[in-house]
Amino acid sequence: MASAIFYILGFTALAATALCITRRNPVHAVVYLVNALFALALMFYQLGAPLVAAWEVIIYAGAVMVLFLFIIMMLELAPASAEMQGPGWRRWGPVLLLSLVILGCTLALLGIQADQDGVPAFWVSPRAFGAALFDQYALAVQVVSFQLLYAAVGAFYVGKGSLRRRTQGEETP
């Protein structure tokens, strides 16, 4: 049962990714990618990584994809009405189907015991995860935090550079 759900989720993720990479409209691509990320998060959960599954949803689907949507809407990249032709079910049918499959798998996972298949399930609790992260990999955590700082400074610099160029262009045309 658990492995069947895993295969269903895997093919759901593959289908969502295939739909994602063939879209012309970036907003549609992001929505399909969010579906794929939800399916991947459930696969992580089944492989004994509940914390990674939660962060997959929070960071990827919640933060990174919303950042993509922000940029797409800020730059007005979505085509206005060229892709909106045709019957309505072709627009929201696939994404509704994928979401329903993922929701059904989530509900089915709620009713499954972790060690139902006779094998003791590998399960990393958040406590064990945090102990290993901040004990064995403390130096790596600091390096990664520096990397995030560099990224923030770099993004600020690039954004400020474009702003300065634009204001200069307005002052001395």
Partner: protein, 101 residues
């Protein structure tokens, strides 16, 4: 392990190839970045699968570092997307084929 490791590797290889195809075939910069995201997620699936195979927590910790790296990469590359859009007024990758200096 609820499924064999080879099947996890097959899923993640398929996802990776799809992301690579997106990077190579699409010309919109946003779609190229989405392809990079797909590839990184495929690598994360491999790492979590390896972590479950060897019953060790290290693979999942690598996924967390991968996520931190991804958020850094996405923030800086989206800032560059905004910059390039303001500079040339388009996001087609073919428009950025010249070097200065």
């Amino acid at each position: 392990m609820i499924v064999p490791m080879s099947h996890i590797l097959a899923f993640s290889a398929a996802l990776f190839v799809m992301g690579l195809a997106c990077v190579l075939a699409q010309r919109n910069l946003i779609m190229i970045l989405i392809g990079v995201e797909i590839m990184l997620n495929a690598v994360g699936l491999t790492l979590v699968g390896a972590s479950a195979l060897w019953q060790k927590v290290d693979g999942q910790i690598f996924v967390i570092f991968l996520m931190a790296m991804t958020s850094a990469e996405v923030s800086i590359s989206l800032a560059m997307v905004v910059y390039l859009r303001r500079r040339k007024g388009t996001l087609e990758a073919d428009a950025f084929d010249g070097m200065k200096g």
